[in-house]
């Protein structure tokens, strides 16, 4: 049998992490009622600087980072618990999410000492927010084909090009931008670099791209002869592909890939009442069993990562299964509520909730690596390509 064994060794989060869970829950119970957001049910893409600052004040942002940069030097598993509690309790974690998840860790790993000192403590205080500058109009899943060009000039780079689907660029401070610093468009992985771009830089223009649900999350970010100082290069010139790949690993393994719309399940339980019919109970039970399984898989991946392994295939499997679950959930819930909601008012209210979730659902299997990209990774792991 030549294919690698798929194993998700059951993993218990350690006692310290579980103790932290209690603290996080108590904090959320006290803090969340006082926070107003644009979304009825907040999630990791709902911004709230007020909430992020409050979380930072607790020491729960950049929680794994060294103390000298404002971190708490706690484990990756502690971070896992904070993350899943934010999601499980529908906290508006959108302002700090990307900075805490991937931009900060990227700077910690590849950034200069000056960059770390200037940026990381501000992230941990919940004051500094990041966007991801990867996709372009002609570069989506095929990221290595980016055309945005950073031409070396005295003291820095002159940048020209366009980034798209840049979530939060209109309210965030920085965008880690993947650019071509040398070679030609066809050189693929060679000649790419990452720049730390201050979104207020002259020559950087931010225009909204409204999604189908009418939300303004995305932007188009255009660089027109924008000058980026040389000390904003992250890592080595030409190492951009290696760095961006490591960044994507952070992006794929977390519980946000199956808990984005967990509020739909919670509200479904509400509208079905305390004694649903047999069939309705069974459908809810199946949804809960799938969510439980995803969580077991995700904690197993977290355990493997804490143990120093790099479970790339396993992480891809979790995102694939998880995002499809999120996509199925509003649809299963809607049809069930139609037949089994206890009151007309509850039904009308729930159908609005489910309708919104349905509109957002197509994005789940696209962002952070499409289902097809993930399946390509898994197929390679199975030795098929």
């Amino acid at each position: 049998m030549s294919i690698p064994k798929l194993e998700f060794p059951p993993f218990h989060l350690p006692a310290e992490a579980e103790a932290l869970r209690g603290e996080v829950r108590a904090f959320l119970k006290e803090t969340l009622p006082g926070i107003q957001t644009e979304d009825r049910f907040a999630s990791w893409n709902t911004p709230s600087p007020e909430f992020s600052r409050a979380l930072g004040a607790k020491g729960w942002l950049g929680i794994t980072w060294p103390k000298q940069y404002g971190g708490a030097e706690r484990t990756f598993l502690d971070r896992y618990v904070v993350t899943e509690e934010l999601l499980g309790n529908s906290a508006p974690a959108g302002s700090h999410w990307v900075a805490d998840r991937q931009s900060g860790p990227l700077l910690l790993k590849f950034g200069s000492e000056q960059q770390r000192q200037a940026i990381l403590p501000r992230i941990t205080r919940g004051e500094c927010y990041f966007s991801i500058g990867m996709s372009e109009p002609d570069s989506g899943s095929d990221l290595a084909s980016v055309r945005t060009r950073a031409e070396p000039v005295p003291g820095g780079f002159r940048v020209n090009g366009t980034k798209v689907w840049t979530s939060g660029a209109h309210r965030n401070h920085y965008c880690i931008t993947l650019v071509r610093t040398s070679g030609q468009h066809g050189d693929r992985h060679k000649g790419l670099s990452q720049l730390l771009v201050d979104l207020k830089t002259p020559g950087v223009t931010i225009r909204p791209i409204i999604n189908l649900a009418g939300r303004h999350d995305w932007n188009e970010v255009t660089f027109s002869d924008a000058f980026i100082p040389e000390d904003c290069l992250i890592g080595n010139e030409g190492d951009g592909w290696l760095q961006v790949t490591s960044e994507l690993a952070f992006e794929r393994s977390g519980p946000e890939r199956f808990m984005q719309n967990v509020y739909v399940l919670r509200e479904l339980i509400r509208v079905l009442g305390r004694q649903p019919a047999k069939r309705a109970s069974a459908i809810v039970g199946r949804l809960i069993a799938r969510l439980w399984t995803l969580r077991q898989m995700s904690t197993a991946v977290a355990g493997m990562m804490q143990g120093g392994q790099s479970p790339a295939i396993e992480a891809s499997l979790v995102k694939d299964l998880g995002t499809i679950y999120e996509q199925d959930l509003p649809e299963i819930a809607r049809t069930l509520a139609e037949s089994d909601a206890t009151t007309e008012d509850d039904l009308a209210d729930f159908l609005d909730i489910a309708q919104y979730a349905t509109m957002m659902a197509p994005s789940y299997t696209i962002q952070g690596g499409t289902t097809q990209v993930l399946r390509g990774i898994v197929a390679r792991g199975l030795g098929l390509r």
Binding site: M1, S2, I3, K5, L6, E7, F8, P9, P10, R21, R25, E84, G88, N89, V262, L265, R266, E267, I269, R270, L272, G273, R274, Q275, P276, K278, A280, S281, A282, I283, V284, G285, R286, I288, A289, R290, L291, W292, T293, L294, R295, Q296, M297, A300, E314, L317, D320, L321, Q372, L374, R375, G376, V378, A379, L382, G383, L384, R385
Partner: protein
Amino acid sequence: MDRETRDMLLETAGRFFTERSSKDVVNGVEKGVWPADLWKEIEEMGLPLIAVPEAQEGVGGTLADLLALLRVAGEHAVPVPLAETTLANLLVAASGGKPASGPSTLALGGSDLSLQGNRLSGKVTRVPFASVADRFVSVVNAGGKPTLVVVARDEASVEETPSHAGEPYGTVVFDNTPVEFSAASAVSADRALELAALMRTMQMAGAADKVLVTAVEYCKQRVQFGRPISNFQAIQHMLAELASCVAATIASAESASRDADEGGLADGGSFSIAAAKTQCSDFAHRIAALSHQSMGAMGFTHEHILHHYTRRLWVWRRDFGSEAFWGEKIGQAFAKAGRDAMWPALTESKYAA
């Protein structure tokens, strides 16, 4: 047993099953040929007594050891009641009895089983290996107390209703039937059903794993349009999706096994077992559909071994409670507790309360 001993045992068992639970043996059972030699060797290896304490002349393994063995057995479609016998022996030993040799099976889930004095009455349908087991083990409520009962097969009447995987399942009727052993049971009747469901999840994990390996190997070798079909992206993505369903099956079964083992025989991992049996049963359909699609007509023949596994997945998902049965139990508990109890319960792998 320690990790090293267990790994050694599992490796030995795996090699043994590869050799002795061959395609012909599995097909033979479907034609009604009882593989007496296979069973004899299984007993000689001590496998049916894996989770019986050494003090009771068993191997002294844990519930986790037993379940790990069943995953390997599932990977080889072992067509004898190894799972049923190991669990029956564990239950008998835990209730103070002495496990007898020979194959046993579990007569669980009969709603109207009743014990009057030393005599059992009632009917249980779809009892695995009913016509080839030497005895039936069940847990019944007698005077409000769970009682473990052992009945010799010849004392009961068995109507053969082979499973769709060709294994000798049957309906068992007890009619004032004398029991050969009874004792206060270490587990409730509901718990016995949970443990049996858990046992099936691990067999399903093993079978699902085998389905994936079989489909992947086939697609790498099968040439069409001048190249192995594994080169086609449509096939690659189908197999990747299959891998995700198999991974979920394995992960849920292993998590439930861990929780049951750590929480103790009486009630450990109660919710996790329900969730895992729901999950494994739920995905059996997708696993079968994707693997058969990737293997075309070849995988649909009786000649190929794929059906040894896909048919068992279809049967096992019904055994000891389907996804509808366990899902309903979960759904009712979570509905009763209300929406705010959901997330805390999930993080503790417990029924919401």
